[in-house]
C-alpha cells in the first residue's frame, strides 16, 4: 500500500501520541509471517507480509525503490524479525502505528561510525570438511571476504549486528545473524534442485519458482558422473519429453534426439542446440559414413566442460528462438571462471568396456544340419556353386564370429585438469581434457580426444561494465571401420578365414571375408574451435546494454581406405580410398537491451535484441583409385585417378529481432510475452520473413494467503500455461532456387549440366502451435517437488518433399502442405528428499513421459506418394509390413492376411501398420545416497516401445541360407502337422523362399523392444579429511559404470539401437579426483 509523502509526514509527527493510546493492535513480535525472497525487491517482501497479516506499510517511494536483489530464506518468523532481516544494513528503521508500519530513514548519528570488531569463523561442507573459496558477504554493506584453505574467514562490519551470507556454487546460500567479534561455525548444505536455483532460458535466466515456461535442467553433477564422450549420451532418460536413442555402440556415433516428438513430416526434427549463445549445427559433416554411422557434431563438445544443459520445451520458452524453436531448444552452458582462491582440480578415470549381450547362434553341427535340410526341402542338390559350406569347407570348424569381431575388451582413460580462480572483478578458468578409448574390435582401432577450455571474466570497479570471453577447442581422432562388422555376426561358423598358405580365403561365388574386411580403415578427425565474448554495460540502474559475438568452426577430415587385400578378387581387383573434407564456419552477433522497472506491486522486465548469423558449410569427397601399393592409400597423390565424388558449398544467413516482456506481480501472478521476427536465406525472396510469438502465464497460488492458511503442507504451488507459435526451417538450403548443377562427369569434351531441382519460390515456414499447461507442487518444505505437464503441439503448413511422379522428370519438390501433425503428452517430474538424517541422505528423482504422435490431416493423402507410409490418426514414423497369420502346419510356409483378398500377398496392397518406434512411455529414475564421505548414485532408464526384432528386415536371410541363425531356428517347421512359429528351412528358391522374404517384413518379426537399463551407477568416497594437512580440499576415489545391465525381452543385440549394429557398450571405470 502506498501513501503519499504528505500523509506520511503527518502520520509520523502524530506517531507518538497515537501509540500511547494503546489500542488493541497486534504487535510485530506476536504475528508470524513466512517470507522468503531470492534476489527479490523489498517491495515484494512487504507485499508478502501484508498478504499474510493485517499490517500495512507506509513509506516514501524513493526510500525503498532502490532496494532490490534482497535474499532471505523462506521461513516463518515474527514480522519484527522478518523486518530486521530485510532491512539489515539498509539504514531504514521502522515504527508500528496501530496496524501500520512506517518505514523511514533516521538522521545519521555518529555512533554508527565506530569500527566494529571483526567477525571470524569457519565454513564447512556437509561432511564437515572445510570449504575454501566461499564468499562471505554482509548484507547491505560492500564488504566481501573469501574463506581460506581451512575454510576460515574474517570480516569487518560497520554495524554491531550483521547478517552474513555464505555463497558457494553448488551449495545453498546460507544466512547467519552475527554480532561483532563473534566466532561463527557454519556448515553449508548442497543445493539440491531448490526452486530458487538458476534456470537458463533463452537470452536470460530465471528460477524454477518464477519460470512461466517448461524448462528442464541437467547439471554438471549428473553429466560428469557418466564416463561417456557425447553429452547427448549423458542426457538419456534424464529429461521428461526428451527421447534420445543411440544408433550404435561405436565411439562418436550419432544420437537421434526428439524433444516432444516428431513435428515435421520431411523436414528436420532435431532440436536447436545453442552452446554459450552460439547456435550449434546438428547436421552431420560426414562426407561418407563410417562404422559409427554419420557422427553428430555434438560429439565434439566435451562433456567435462559442460556446466549445465537446459532443455526448453514449450512455446513460452522456445518462441524467443522463433523459426528454429519448433523442435525445442537445448541450451548448453560451459564452465566459467569464478572468484576465489586459485585452485586446481584434477580428475582421472580409467576403465574397460565390452559388449555385454550377444545373440546366441547355432553351432556348426546345428548349422550344417539346417543347411542340408534346406536343400532337401528345396529339392536342390547342393553344389560347389551354391553350397560351399557343405561341400568345400571344414565340417567341424566352429568360429564364434561375435567373439572374433566384437568380443574384445576395450580400454579407456580420461584425464581432466583445470585451474581457476581470481578476484571478484577478474577471474578465469583454464581446463584441459584428454580421452583415449580402444575398441572391442580386433586390431588397433581407437578413439582419442583432447579438449581445451579457457574463460576469462572481468568487471569494472564500478560494476558497470563487464566482459566475459571463452575459447574452446576440441579435437578428436576416430580410427575405425568403414562399416559396422557386427553385421557379419551370422557368418557361417565353418567359414574358412585363411587358405593353407596364410592368405585370406575368398569364396569363388562372391561374398565377404569378415576378417579381410578388417583390413579396411576409416579414420576421421574432427576439430571444433569456438569462441564467444559478451560485453555488458549498465547504462542506468536496471537498464543494460549488451553485445555478444560468437564464432564456431568445426572441420572434419575423413579417410576411408580399402586395400586390395580386403576385396574378393573374383569381384574386384584393386584398391580404393575416399578422402572427405568438410567444415562449417558460423559467426553470430547479438546486440541486446534489457530493462527492469517496478510498476505498482510488480516488476516488469523487458528485453529486446537482434541476431545476425552467417554460416558457411563446405565439403568435398574425392575417390582415389589405381594405387601402386596398398601402403600408399593414405596419400591421394599416389592414386592414378582422383575423382571428385561430391562437392557442396552452402551459405546460410539469418537475421532476427526479438523482444520479451515479463511482468511479475507480487510474486503471485507472472505474465510473459515473447515475440520474434526472423529472416532466413533458406526461403525464397518473397517469403523470407516470419513472425513468431508466445504468451506464458504463471500463478504462484501458494503465495496466496488463503492457500497458506489452509494448506500448510503445501510449500509451493504454481499453475502455469503457455501458447504460441514457433517455426522450423530445417529444410535444406537453396530449395527455392531455380538452377542447374554440374553432372558428376564430363562428356564428349564438355562439362554436363542437369536441372538441380523443381524449384518452388513460394514456400514458407513450417509453423508449430504449442500449447502447454502444468502444475508444480512442493510439499513438506519442498522436500517433495512434483511437476506435471500437459502439452499439445500442432505442426501445420508442413514443408514436405511433395512427391512428384517420376514421369514428370523429378521425384519431389518442396512445398507447404496444409497437413497437420499433433504431438501431445504428459510429463511428470518428481524429486524427493527421502531421508535427511544426520550423516545419511537419500534423494530421488523420477521422470516419466507419455507421448503420442499422430497425423491429424493430410489433404490428398491417398493420392500422394505417402499413401503407403503415412496414415491419418497414426504416428508419422509407422512401420508397415505383412500381418503374419503363423506358419502353415502342412507346409511350414508362413501365411499372411490377404488384405485385398486377391489370393496373392503383395506390397503395398497387403501391408498393415505394424507399429512405430516411438516409445509409448519412457523415463528415468535417479537415486543418490550418501553416508558421511561415501556416496552412491544409480540411474535407471526405462522405455516402453515396439521395434524390429532380430530377424526383421531385408538383411535377414532365410532359415537355411548361407548365413547362421539365432537359436529360434531350432524351432523351425520340419514335419507336416507341426505347429510352430518358425518357418521351414529353405536355401535358394521356391514358395518357402519367397514367403520368407515377406515373413521377415511381417508382424512375426516385429515386437516388444521395451527395456529397463541400469544406465549409470557411481560409488564415490571422499578422503578429503585424510589429506587435510596437505592443503588438499578434495580427494575422492570413485567407481563408475555405464549401461551396466538391461532387462528386456528383446531378442536382438540391443533394444535401444536395434538392428545388426554394435550394441551400446557396458563401461566400468575407476577414477580419482583431487582438488587443491
Amino acid at each position: 500500500m502506498k501513501i503519499n509523502a504528505i500523509i506520511l509526514i503527518t502520520m509520523l509527527t502524530a506517531a507518538g501520541s497515537i501509540m500511547a493510546s494503546g489500542t488493541k493492535a497486534q504487535t510485530m513480535t506476536d504475528v508470524n509471517v513466512s517470507v522468503g525472497l531470492n534476489q527479490g525487491t523489498l517491495l515484494s517482501a512487504l507485499s508478502k507480509i501484508e498478504s499474510q497479516s493485517d499490517f500495512r506499510f507506509a513509506y516514501k517511494k524513493e526510500l525503498i525503490s532502490s532496494l532490490k536483489e534482497i535474499t532471505i530464506s523462506q521461513q516463518t518468523r515474527s514480522v519484527k524479525l522478518t523486518l530486521d532481516e530485510l532491512l539489515a544494513g539498509t539504514g531504514i528503521s521502522y515504527k508500528q502505528l496501530n496496524n501500520s508500519i512506517i518505514l523511514f530513514k533516521p538522521e545519521p548519528t555518529s555512533v554508527n561510525a565506530t569500527a566494529q570488531e571483526p567477525i571470524t569463523g569457519t565454513v564447512k561442507d556437509e561432511a564437515g570438511l572445510p570449504i575454501p573459496g566461499v564468499s562471505v558477504k554482509i548484507k547491505g554493506q560492500p564488504v566481501v571476504a573469501i574463506t581460506d584453505q581451512n575454510g576460515r574467514f574474517s570480516i569487518s562490519s560497520a554495524t554491531r549486528i550483521s547478517y552474513l551470507q555464505f555463497i558457494y556454487i553448488g551449495y545453498a546460500t546460507q544466512e547467519y545473524k552475527a554480532e561483532a567479534g563473534q566466532s561463527v561455525q557454519i556448515s553449508l548444505k548442497p543445493d539440491v534442485g531448490t526452486l530458487d536455483a538458476v534456470v537458463v532460458i533463452g537470452y536470460g535466466t530465471t528460477t524454477k519458482r518464477n519460470n512461466t515456461g517448461a524448462v528442464a535442467s541437467v547439471t554438471s553433477k549428473d553429466i560428469a558422473s557418466q564416463p561417456v564422450s557425447d553429452p547427448l549420451a549423458a542426457l538419456q532418460g534424464r529429461v521428461a519429453g526428451l527421447d534420445i536413442s543411440g544408433s550404435n555402440g561405436y565411439s562418436g556415433s550419432a544420437y537421434t534426439v526428439r524433444l516432444r516428438g516428431i513435428n515435421s513430416i520431411t523436414g528436420g526434427n532435431d532440436p536447436l542446440y545453442i552452446v554459450d549463445g552460439v547456435p550449434f549445427g546438428s547436421a552431420t559433416l560426414n562426407q561418407f559414413s563410417g562404422a559409427n554411422g554419420s557422427s553428430s557434431p555434438l560429439n565434439s563438445i566435451n562433456p567435462a566442460d559442460i556446466d549445465r544443459i537446459d532443455v526448453l520445451k514449450d512455446a513460452d520458452a522456445t518462441a524467443i528462438y522463433g523459426s528454429r524453436g519448433a523442435n525445442g531448444v537445448i541450451l548448453i552452458t560451459t564452465k566459467k571462471g569464478k572468484a576465489g582462491k586459485t585452485s586446481v582440480d584434477a580428475n582421472v578415470y580409467s576403465g574397460i568396456s565390452f559388449v555385454n549381450h550377444k545373440v546366441d547362434v547355432l553351432n556348426t553341427a546345428q548349422y550344417l544340419a539346417l543347411r542340408k535340410e534346406a536343400f532337401a526341402n528345396d529339392k536342390i542338390t547342393p553344389t560347389v556353386d551354391n553350397a560351399l559350406d557343405l561341400l568345400s569347407w571344414d565340417q567341424t570348424a566352429n568360429t564364434d564370429w561375435q567373439e572374433k569381431l566384437i568380443g574384445n575388451t576395450a580400454k579407456m582413460t580420461e584425464a581432466q585438469l583445470s585451474l581457476s580462480g581470481g578476484s571478484d572483478l577478474t577471474n578465469f578458468l583454464v581446463s584441459g581434457t584428454y580421452r583415449k578409448e580402444t575398441t572391442v574390435l580386433p586390431g588397433d582401432q581407437g578413439y582419442q580426444r583432447g579438449a581445451f577450455n579457457f574463460n576469462l571474466n572481468h568487471k569494472s570497479a564500478d560494476n558497470k561494465f563487464s566482459l566475459s570471453t571463452s575459447v574452446k577447442y576440441v579435437g578428436d581422432q576416430n580410427n575405425s571401420m568403414p562399416t559396422d562388422v557386427t553385421q557379419y555376426y551370422n557368418t557361417s561358423p565353418n567359414y574358412p578365414i585363411y587358405n593353407a598358405d596364410g592368405t585370406f580365403y575368398w569364396p569363388t561365388t562372391g561374398g565377404q571375408n569378415p576378417i579381410a574386411y578388417l583390413e579396411r580403415q576409416y579414420l576421421s578427425t574432427t576439430q571444433n574451435l569456438s569462441g564467444n565474448t559478451v560485453a555488458k554495460y549498465v547504462i542506468l540502474p536496471g537498464f543494460n546494454a549488451q553485445v555478444s559475438a560468437g564464432y564456431n568452426r568445426i572441420s572434419m577430415k575423413q579417410t576411408n581406405t580399402q586395400p586390395q587385400s580386403s576385396f574378393n578378387p573374383t569381384l574386384y581387383t584393386g584398391s580404393l580410398a575416399y578422402y572427405g573434407n568438410s567444415s562449417v564456419n558460423t559467426w553470430l552477433v547479438e546486440p541486446m537491451l534489457d530493462y527492469t522497472k517496478k510498476i505498482s506491486r510488480g516488476t516488469l522486465q523487458v528485453l529486446a535484441g537482434g541476431t545476425l548469423q552467417s554460416s558457411t558449410t563446405e565439403g568435398s569427397n574425392v575417390l582415389g583409385a589405381g594405387f601402386a601399393s596398398d601402403e600408399q592409400l593414405d596419400n591421394p597423390k599416389a592414386a592414378v585417378t582422383l575423382t571428385s565424388q561430391s562437392y557442396n558449398y552452402v551459405k546460410y544467413k539469418y537475421s532476427s529481432v526479438y523482444a520479451r516482456a515479463t511482468y511479475n506481480w507480487d510474486e503471485r501472478y507472472i505474465l510473459n510475452g515473447t515475440f520474434r521476427r526472423d529472416g532466413s536465406s533458406r526461403f525464397g525472396p518473397d517469403n523470407r520473413f516470419g513472425n513468431f510469438g508466445a504468451i506464458g502465464a504463471a500463478w504462484l497460488f501458494s503465495n496466496e494467503s488463503f492457500i497458506k492458511d489452509k494448506l500448510s503442507f503445501l510449500s509451493f504451488g504454481k499453475l502455469r500455461g503457455s501458447y504460441g507459435t514457433v517455426g522450423n526451417d530445417q529444410i535444406g538450403n537453396y530449395q527455392y532456387y531455380d538452377s542447374w548443377s554440374a553432372t558428376d562427369f564430363a562428356y564428349a569434351g564438355s562439362g554436363g549440366l542437369y536441372p538441380s531441382r523443381f524449384a518452388n519460390k513460394n514456400y514458407g515456414w513450417e509453423v508449430n502451435h504449442k500449447l502447454e499447461a502444468a502444475v508444480e507442487l512442493g510439499f513438506l518444505k519442498d522436500r517433495i517437488l512434483l511437476t506435471a505437464d500437459y502439452y499439445r503441439n500442432k505442426s501445420s503448413n508442413q514443408l514436405i518433399q511433395y512427391v512428384l511422379s517420376s514421369q514428370s522428370g523429378y521425384t519431389s519438390y518442396i512445398a507447404n502442405l496444409p497437413a497437420e501433425v499433433e504431438n501431445k503428452g504428459w510429463e511428470f517430474e518428481l524429486s524427493t528428499v527421502n531421508i535427511n538424517k544426520g550423516n545419511f541422505k537419500w534423494n530421488s528423482a523420477f521422470n516419466l513421459t507419455f507421448a503420442k504422435n499422430r497425423l491429424l490431416k493430410y489433404p490428398g493423402l491417398a493420392a500422394s506418394s505417402y499413401a503407403n507410409t503415412l496414415f491419418i490418426g497414426q504416428p508419422l514414423n509407422v512401420v508397415t509390413g505383412y500381418l503374419s497369420t503363423g506358419i502353415n502346419p502342412a507346409t511350414g510356409i508362413p501365411t499372411f492376411v490377404d488384405k485385398n483378398g486377391n489370393g496373392t500377398i503383395t506390397n503395398p496392397a497387403d501391408m498393415f501398420v505394424l507399429g512405430t518406434t516411438t516409445p509409448k512411455f519412457y523415463g528415468g529414475f535417479q537415486n543418490t545416497l550418501s553416508y558421511k564421505n561415501l556416496s552412491l548414485s544409480f540411474f535407471f532408464q526405462f522405455v516402453k516401445q515396439d521395434g524390429p526384432l532380430l530377424n526383421y528386415g531385408t538383411l535377414s536371410g532365410t532359415i537355411g541360407s548361407r548365413a547362421n541363425k539365432d537359436l529360434s531356428a531350432l524351432d523351425r517347421w520340419t514335419t507336416a502337422g507341426q505347429v510352430t512359429d518358425v518357418p521351414i528351412a529353405t536355401a535358394t528358391t521356391g514358395a518357402a523362399y519367397a514367403a520368407y522374404n515377406q515373413w521377415r517384413l511381417s508382424s512375426a518379426n516385429w515386437g516388444d523392444a521395451s527395456y529397463i537399463r541400469l544406465k549409470n551407477a557411481t560409488l564415490r568416497y571422499n578422503l578429503g579429511s585424510v589429506f587435510k594437512n596437505l592443503k588438499i580440499s578434495n580427494f575422492s576415489i570413485y567407481l563408475q559404470g555405464q549401461n551396466l545391465f538391461t532387462i528386456t525381452n528383446y531378442n536382438g543385440f540391443d533394444p535401444e539401437t536395434k538392428g545388426l549394429v554394435l550394441p551400446p557398450l557396458s563401461i566400468y571405470t575407476a577414477g580419482l579426483q583431487v582438488s587443491f
Binding site: D385, F465, A625, A748, S805, Q807, G809, Y810
Partner: protein, 476 residues
C-alpha cells in the same frame, strides 16, 4: 573509457537493427548455375544436352546398361543367372515385382532424360543468343534422345504417359497414352531429328553424340516395330548408304565394340572410369580374370539355350563368347563382346546403336514385304562377316522370318534387350493372335513364363505417386 564503450555498444545496436532484409539475401550457390544463364551461351546449352549422356552412363544400373545386362537377357532366354540375387531372379523368372529397384530405374531414368530433353527444346527455342549451328544440333539431339527414351519405355511397359513439355505439376498426374500414339510421337521426333542433325561426326571422330545416321537407324527400327516395312526399308537403306559406316572384316570381329569403330552409329562415352572400368557392360559381365574366368552372367545352355543356337564355325561364338569348365565338368559360357573388365586405358565405349542392325532391319522389312531374296541377301552380309555360308532362299515369309529370328538372336545377343523385344513383338506361330513369339519360345526353357510378363510392371512408386496410372495386367 566507459562513455566510449557505451557509444560503441549503442552504435552496434543501431547498426545491426537496420538492413535485415539485405543481410539474409544470399548469393546463388557457387555449385549451381541459374536457369536463366543456361541457354545463353553455346557452351552451357551444350552442357545441358551432353549432361544427359553423361548421366545415362555414369553409374551402374542406369537403364542404359541394365537393359543390356539383365532386364533384356534374363527376361528372354539369353542369360541364365545362377546366383541368388532376388532382384535379378525376378527377371529370370518373369515375376518382376512392382517394387523391383532395377525396374524402377528403367522407368524413372528415361523420364528424367525426357524432362531434360524437353527443357533443352524449350530453352533452345526461347534463346536469342545461341548460334544457329548449335541451336539446330541441340534441337536435333534432344528430339532424338526423347524418342530414344520413349522407344524403350513403350517396349518395356506398353502404354506410357507421353510428356512433351516441362510443366511438371501437370505432367506428374498424366495418365498413360496409347502406345500407338507414343510411337507416332517417336516417329515425328526422329523424323525431325534426322533433318536437324548433321551427317558427319565431329572432328576427332568420336561417335558419342547422335547424328543423322543414329536418327535414321532408330527411325527404321521404329517403323519396323510398328509394321511400316516400306519405310523401315528405306530408312535402313539410308543408313547402309551412309559412308560413315562399314562392317568390320571377319578378321576384325573382335574390334567391333572398340570405341568409335566403323560399326558404331552411336556409343556412350565411358565416364566414371575410377575403377579402371571401360563400360559397365564389360565391367559387370566380363570375368576379371580370363585365365580362370568366373561370372554370374552366363548364356543359357539348355537345349533351347543360346549356347546351342550358334552354328558350327560361327566366328561370333569363338570371338564374342568366352567359357570355362567347372570342377563338375560343366562348360559355362559368358558374353564376351566387351573385352575389358577393368583397365586404366579406355579402349571400349558402350555400344547403343550398331550398324549391323541396319542390315537386320532391312532384311526383316524386305522379307515381310515378300522381297525374300533381297532379305536373305542382307542376312548373308551379316553371316558372311561371321564366317558362315549363305542361307538357302526361304520358301515363304514365315520361313524367312525364322531366318531373321535366328540371325538377330545370334548377332544382337546381350545388346539392349533386342531378343526380349523381338520375342514380344513377333506374333506366335500357332496363329493365336493373342499370343506372341515369346509364348512359343520361353515356355520351352522356363516353367515360370506367363504372357502377362511381356510388359514390365509400372514401378510401385510411380503408381503411388500418380493416382491416374493403372498397373499392367498380372501385377495386382
Amino acid at each position: 573509457m566507459m562513455k566510449a564503450l557505451q557509444y560503441i555498444l549503442i552504435a552496434i545496436l543501431i547498426a545491426s537493427a537496420t538492413s535485415c532484409e539485405k543481410f539474409v539475401a544470399v548469393d546463388p550457390p557457387i555449385t549451381e548455375l541459374a536457369e536463366s544463364a543456361v541457354f545463353v551461351s553455346d557452351k552451357t546449352a551444350t552442357a545441358a544436352m551432353v549432361g544427359i549422356y553423361s548421366d545415362m552412363n555414369a553409374y551402374n544400373y542406369t537403364f542404359a546398361n541394365e537393359i543390356t545386362m539383365f532386364m533384356g537377357p534374363f527376361s528372354a532366354d539369353e542369360f541364365n543367372y545362377e546366383a541368388t540375387a532376388a532382384l535379378l531372379l525376378e527377371f529370370k523368372n518373369n515375376a518382376v515385382q512392382p517394387s523391383n529397384t532395377y525396374n524402377g530405374l528403367a522407368w524413372s531414368g528415361p523420364y528424367n532424360y525426357i524432362y531434360r530433353c524437353n527443357a533443352v527444346i524449350e530453352g533452345v527455342n526461347a534463346s536469342t543468343t545461341l548460334s544457329t549451328a548449335v541451336k539446330t544440333q541441340l534441337l536435333g539431339e534432344a528430339k532424338f534422345l526423347r524418342a530414344f527414351c520413349y522407344f524403350y519405355l513403350v517396349n518395356l511397359y506398353g502404354d506410357v504417359p507421353l510428356i512433351l513439355d516441362t510443366d511438371v505439376l501437370k505432367n506428374t498426374n498424366l495418365p498413360r497414352t496409347a502406345s500407338a500414339q507414343v510411337y507416332t510421337s517417336i516417329i515425328a521426333d526422329l523424323t525431325e531429328a534426322k533433318s536437324l542433325l548433321a551427317t558427319a561426326y565431329p572432328t576427332g571422330g568420336e561417335r558419342t553424340r547422335p547424328t543423322k545416321g543414329a536418327a535414321s537407324l532408330l527411325l527404321s527400327r521404329a517403323y519396323l516395330y510398328t509394321g511400316n516395312y516400306a519405310s523401315a526399308e528405306s530408312e535402313a537403306d539410308a543408313v547402309i548408304a551412309n559412308a560413315n559406316y562399314k562392317l568390320l572384316a571377319s578378321a576384325d570381329i573382335n574390334k567391333v565394340f572398340l570405341k568409335n569403330s566403323t560399326e558404331t552409329v552411336w556409343q556412350l562415352q565411358s565416364v566414371n572410369v575410377s575403377a579402371n572400368k571401360n563400360t559397365w557392360e564389360g565391367y559387370n559381365m566380363t570375368p576379371s580374370n580370363t585365365a580362370a574366368p568366373v561370372t554370374n552372367f552366363r548364356l543359357t545352355r539348355d537345349t533351347y539355350g543360346l549356347v546351342n543356337a550358334f552354328e558350327t564355325g560361327d566366328l561370333r561364338k569363338s570371338n564374342w563368347t568366352g567359357s570355362w569348365v567347372t570342377a563338375a565338368k560343366v562348360t559355362l559360357t559368358y558374353p564376351y563382346k566387351y573385352k575389358v573388365q577393368s583397365n586404366a586405358a579406355v579402349t571400349e565405349y558402350s555400344m547403343v546403336l550398331r550398324f549391323a542392325e541396319a542390315y537386320l532391319i532391312r532384311a526383316e522389312a524386305r522379307i515381310q514385304q515378300n522381297k525374300l531374296a533381297l532379305g536373305k541377301a542382307d542376312l548373308d552380309v551379316i553371316r558372311s562377316r561371321a564366317g558362315l555360308p549363305a542361307l538357302a532362299l526361304p520358301a515363304s515369309i514365315a520361313a524367312g522370318m525364322l531366318q531373321v529370328e535366328k540371325e538377330r538372336r545370334i548377332e544382337l545377343f546381350a545388346e539392349w534387350g533386342h531378343r526380349w523385344f523381338d520375342l514380344k513383338r513377333w506374333k506366335s506361330l500357332t496363329g493365336d493372335a493373342t499370343k506372341s513369339r515369346a509364348d512359343d519360345i520361353l515356355p520351352l526353357s522356363k516353367t515360370t513364363w506367363k504372357s502377362s510378363a511381356a510388359l514390365m510392371p509400372i514401378p510401385a512408386e510411380a503408381i503411388t505417386s500418380n493416382p491416374n496410372l493403372v498397373q499392367n495386367p498380372g501385377y495386382n
